[in-house]
């Protein structure tokens, strides 16, 4: 079966006042249906931009795609016009953003916002509404409203039909995020991109939201790209994970393999930095150095400046993603030696 989402060697430049930043340096990622991929990395590594790029939501004057492809079920997204992209958004690609407070329009009832998304989706796939396109506007709106109520129920909002007439400020943060998930799923998308969906929520609510996302994957036969900086979220929810650093994917693969046996020096350092019960006071491990300047990126491997294992050869060229143990892909030329040193 062809992959749902394939990003091949994506290069993105963002022009700014100071110059042109090479923010995505050859991103390669494959997501299949039924998989929940975590995209993890520190702030500024480019994970949000990757998500936005799939939906082409990054405006192209400052953004410029220098090379690469984004394929959705084989369809080349970068070659589509904005009008064609609009046909895919909400229908084949659903998106959830970080802050539930600002992502719902405060002046409209949530029912109305849900209905509009549903109607937009139904224009390209009338089956969503279970109502033929030939029917009058009123009938279609009614069907969309029914569907909206069902979606609210599915995401766990009590008393869904009545709540359709509520305004966003009448919901709590967690509830609003559920509404946003309902909005993202109402068009029955094939790919769901969630950009830090739980960062702005309480820990207890976080778990509920993640469970909700997970539960819907099978029902909709979706693939999910879950962008986050929280490894805990990844471990809890994802089936696969890709670790990003400074515009590169340094390690990707099944979650147990990546988190259980980290191969790339960055992944190792990341996992080592997480405090556990046994971490003694004053023994927090950080990572020395800072993220490189993307306008004048360092030559070769972008992690080399901070890498304990760096050699001269590392600065010659960007290391490609190579297959490694456990079904992973790792971008490091010293992989074998690092294994030995670590196990010694």
């Amino acid at each position: 079966m062809a992959a749902l989402l394939e990003i091949r060697d994506l290069h993105l430049h963002m022009s700014s006042y100071e110059g042109s930043a090479h923010v995505l340096n050859g991103i390669t990622l494959t997501v299949n249906r039924g998989e929940i991929w975590g995209l993890v990395g520190e702030s500024g590594c480019g994970k949000s931009l990757t998500g936005l790029s799939i939906s082409r939501l990054s405006p192209t004057p400052p953004a410029h795609y220098a090379a690469g492809q984004i394929l959705l079920d084989g369809l080349d997204l970068l070659g589509l016009s904005m009008a064609q992209m609009q046909k895919l958004r909400g229908k084949r690609i659903g998106m959830i953003f970080q802050d539930p407070t600002t992502n719902l329009n405060p002046a409209f009832r949530i029912g109305e916002q849900l209905v509009d998304v549903a109607l937009a989706a139904a224009r390209h796939d009338p089956a969503i509404l279970e109502c033929p396109a030939s029917e009058g506007r009123g009938v279609r709106r009614g069907a969309a409203r029914q569907l909206a109520g069902q979606m609210l129920d599915r995401v766990g909002i009590p008393n869904p039909q009545a709540r359709l007439d509520s305004y966003p400020h009448e919901f709590s943060g967690g509830m609003r995020q559920r509404v946003l998930i309902a909005m993202a799923l109402i068009g029955k998308p094939d790919l769901l991109i969630a950009d830090e969906p739980t960062t702005a929520l309480d820990v207890s609510v976080q778990a509920q939201i993640l469970k909700l996302i997970k539960a819907n994957v099978a029902d909709f036969d979706m693939g999910v790209l879950l962008i986050t900086h929280n490894l805990g979220v990844v471990a809890q929810t994802c089936s696969h994970v890709a670790v990003m650093y400074a515009g590169n994917i340094v390690e990707s693969g099944p979650v147990a393999a990546v988190i259980g046996q980290p191969a790339h020096p960055y992944t190792r350092a990341l996992l080592a930095a997480i405090p556990t019960r046994d971490t003694k006071r004053g023994m927090l491990q950080g990572l020395a150095g800072t993220v490189p300047n993307l306008i004048i990126p360092p030559p070769g491997c972008r992690f080399a400046t901070r890498c304990v294992f760096a050699m001269d050869a590392c600065t010659k060229a960007t290391p490609p993603l190579q297959p490694a143990a456990g079904g992973k892909l790792v971008a490091c030329i010293r992989l074998a030696e690092i294994e030995e040193m670590a196990n010694a």
Binding site: K87, G90, N105
Partner: protein, 335 residues
């Protein structure tokens, strides 16, 4: 919702009281000769003295104020020297004309200004936008009475498309008076011809008055539209595939309009004040013309009366705007 309206109504009372105090201060306490002015330039000393007693100027200030206020509550705003009628009766007769003009001007400004603001925001930084910005400043700088004169010159005198002034042609009998609005009354009477005529007479003065608020509404709408377009929820709407046209005409428009509404309230007051000049140019028989004629004849009571009534109208208008704002923006209802 009702509670919200009631609360706002209660807040009106101190304002109204304050208004009466100010008007009283102007009428009685300013240097100048109120009695001499009220008596008129041809009064004798005896008449002035009698009038002074009648005004109660020998009483202490608070008694004078009390008489003034009780008089107000009974609808007594003094007598006009010119028309020899109670000012209150005059105001009641001329008020609808002014209101009709103000509403027409406001409607025009809103109906043209809001879409223009939306359009210039969506197509900003291209040359039509730049031009409209300069034109807006020009519109605000243009004196209303000069504009009225120019419109008269151009459309009434040279092109002869529209009438010169007044509410209806002299030969036409006005419809029976229900609201005092020529437009509405002629509709009620089923008189289509008079309705069209009244609209034609309304056109030029309304446009002259509306240009400045139109420009400001356009600028405000443009600014708030730009701000709304940068909001997260607009990004979400785009991400979920809503068409740009729907996003702008339905969602962005409503969010942006609520910010512009507050300006509309302020402009209502400005319009009420500005009727003076435009009514003079177009011979429009409203409060403005009434006050103008009075002031030129040094007839003080009508001017004070008009000021008080317009102040009250302004306060009322702001209340209505507040309520409308509560309808559009549900969060405000709980404040």
């Amino acid at each position: 919702m009702l509670l919200f309206i009631l609360r706002r109504l209660l807040m009106l009372i101190p304002v109204i009281i304050g208004l009466t105090v100010i008007m009283f201060a102007i009428a009685r306490l300013l240097p100048g000769d109120p009695v001499g002015l009220a008596a008129g330039p041809n009064a004798t000393q005896a008449e002035i003295a009698a009038l002074a007693v009648e005004f109660g100027l020998d009483q202490p200030i608070w008694v004078q104020y009390w008489t003034y206020v009780t008089g107000l509550m009974q609808g007594d705003l003094g007598t006009s020297l010119l028309t020899r009628r109670p000012v209150a009766a005059d105001i009641a007769a001329y008020l609808p004309a002014t209101l009709e003009l103000v509403f027409a001007a406001m409607a025009f400004a809103v109906l043209v200004g809001i879409p223009l603001g939306l359009v210039t925001a969506v197509w900003r930084n291209k040359w039509p936008d730049y031009l409209s910005q300069v034109a807006a400043i020009g519109a605000i700088s243009m004196p209303r009475f000069f504009l009225g004169l120019l419109l008269q010159l151009c459309f009434a005198m040279w092109l002869m498309w529209l009438p010169l002034g007044g509410r209806l042609p002299i030969i036409v009998i006005p419809p029976p008076r229900f609201t005092g609005f020529m437009t509405i009354d002629s509709l009620i009477a089923g008189d289509w011809d008079t309705f069209t005529l009244s609209l034609r007479h309304l056109a030029l003065p309304a446009i002259a008055m509306s240009l400045s608020p139109l420009a400001t509404i356009m600028r405000m709408m443009r600014a708030s539209t730009i701000e709304v377009m940068g909001q997260d929820y607009v990004m979400t709407a785009r991400a979920l595939g809503l068409s740009p046209r729907l996003i702008i005409t339905k969602y962005v428009a409503r969010n942006a309009i609520s910010a512009t509404l507050t300006v509309i309230g302020l402009y209502f007051g400005w319009l009420l004040g500005g009727t003076v000049l435009v009514e003079t140019v177009f011979d429009w028989p409203g409060l403005g013309l009434y006050a103008t004629k009075a002031i030129v004849s040094q007839d003080m009571m009508p001017v004070i009366g008009v000021a008080l009534v317009i102040g009250l109208l302004f306060v009322l208008a702001n209340l209505i705007i507040d309520v409308l704002y509560g309808v559009i923006n549900p969060k405000v209802r709980y404040s």
